[in-house]
């Protein structure tokens, strides 16, 4: 049995949800984007249109991309709309367990048992989220990267009870969106957020130990290591608070594995409100 998804629901119209909805719609999937109120949805739709407009100007997208979007992307504020409409619903709501818990309880009741569910979570266990529903075998992780239209990676995460075949279908879906899927077993941080911990964590350790300063470490990682950005520049871009939260989450999820241990420097930066570019100060200073 190979199932092709024709209509896909996306829950949450933030940066990730809107990005996912955009690539689905432009790839020819009937897409239904859900959020709580019309103002949020209207703003999301406008953001998507603006992104597409830019893509057309840069000749990255076809001239008729906006028409394709208009034809394929619908918005809704009614969760019951997913009862018959979608074969797959992808969740991209804020990373708060209480929000996700409530949403999946509702979706599990609304959607018929054959509907597939996926979460774009980056920090929660897919197995734990799946257990909220009565269809853990039809529940998987589909982790996109920001900005979704540009980043080609999708981590397809198999929970403890997820059907292998469903993961294959999600991989096919990702490929049809022009993405490169990788299959991942459900473990904290999946691949990217786990392996990348060392890039930030060891750099902070070197800084804390006084081996070199921020600018020297960044320059060496660029000039010797070939990285596009050094670890401190990148933390400033991501947000030191966000990066610290991911580190804490992976550290706790691995029962305080020392490789993932956060550093007091991160805690101190957050306490001081030095969060990176967004606050004007992080490991570097930024002008407005």
């Amino acid at each position: 049995m190979t199932k092709t998804f024709k209509t896909v629901g996306v829950i949450g119209s933030g940066t990730m949800g809107a990005g996912i909805a955009q690539v689905l719609a432009l790839s020819g999937y009937k897409t239904i984007l859900y959020d709580l109120n019309s103002d949020i949805l209207k703003a999301a739709f406008q953001r998507i249109e603006k992104t597409i407009q830019k893509g057309i100007e840069r000749q990255k997208l076809p001239e008729n991309a906006l028409a394709i979007l208009g034809e394929n992307l619908k918005t809704t504020m009614v969760l019951e709309d997913f009862r018959h409409a979608a074969e797959l619903v992808i969740e991209a709501v804020p990373e708060e367990m209480s929000i996700k818990q409530k949403l999946f309880e509702q979706l599990d009741q609304i959607c018929p048992p054959e509907t597939f569910l996926a979460s774009n979570t980056s920090s929660f266990s897919i197995t734990a989220l799946a257990s909220i529903t009565k269809r853990p075998q039809r529940f998987a992780g589909m982790h996109f990267f920001n900005p979704v239209p540009l980043m080609t990676l999708v981590e397809v995460i198999q929970g403890k009870q997820t059907d292998m075949e469903y993961c294959e279908q999600l991989c096919d879906l990702a490929k049809s969106l022009g993405k490169t899927p990788v299959k991942v077993k459900d473990t904290p941080g999946f691949i990217v957020n786990r392996v990348a911990r060392a890039f930030y964590g060891e750099a902070i350790r070197l800084l804390g130990d006084g081996v070199a300063d921020v600018a020297t470490i960044d320059t060496i990682m660029r000039e010797e290591g070939g990285f596009r950005m050094g670890p401190f520049e990148l933390m400033d871009l991501i947000g030191i608070d966000i990066n610290y939260a991911v580190t804490q989450s992976v550290y706790e999820a691995y029962f305080q594995e020392p490789r993932f241990k956060p550093h007091w420097i991160q805690q101190q930066m957050v306490a001081a409100g030095h969060l990176g570019r967004k606050s004007g100060q992080g490991f570097y200073h930024y002008d407005s």
Partner: protein
Amino acid sequence: MTREKILFLAEDAAQFSSWMKLVEEQSFEVALQVIQSPEQLEQTALRGVHYVIEWLPVSDNLKKTVLKKIGPMLPENILLLSATHEGMATAVASWLPHPGQLVGFSPMSLYREIKHVTLTLPTQADPETRQKADTFCQTLGLIPYWVEDAPGLIFPRIYAMIANEAAFALQEHVASAADIDTAMCLGTNYPMGPLAWADQVGVDTVLNILESLWQTYREERYRPCLLLQKMVLAGLVGKRCGKGFYHYSSAGQVVAESQNLQEKVQV
């Protein structure tokens, strides 16, 4: 004016290709000694030398044996640049009768042409050694970045930790080697997948860096993944032997992923 002489000591002639390009453009007399065992060292090569640039592996004690042998033959005013990324410059310097003449450097650049070099001074460094190294770098058109002496310097240490984590993920069957590398390249713009990098620089080199960190700090954080240890014991050190996380053709191209490596490596 007589030309100053640089002597390169390497395990493999290709190691210093990027350095060779730099020195060719200058008026140095250049000598290269390829040393795979201590007996291969020709003492006459040391005659009239001004600079020694050494990049020998710590494995099989090759580095230590060779440096102990040439140390007494090197006058105090000769600058010795030693690749200390597998350990600490202070430890390497302690093998020499004139430890103050040594400067540690990182040879790990991902680029074919180098413009920058990470340097470190051992605790025993002579007061004028840094100036000497700066002048030498300036002659070669290299920008030096000075850091404190610690195991693995900056890039080799950070990347060895990334490769260790990737090996842990592979060992735990989280994903395949190719998918782990793909994820890091596409998901966070790494210039190279961590496992492909380990194959490139040598899985044994990655393990040596981690062992040095582990022995220096004695923290759980630095313990090397069992898979890496077994690969080195089994001789699966990467590209140079044709097998590591991937299989390579004689031309060095990836021909296959080592399937279920974590199960296959048996010691």
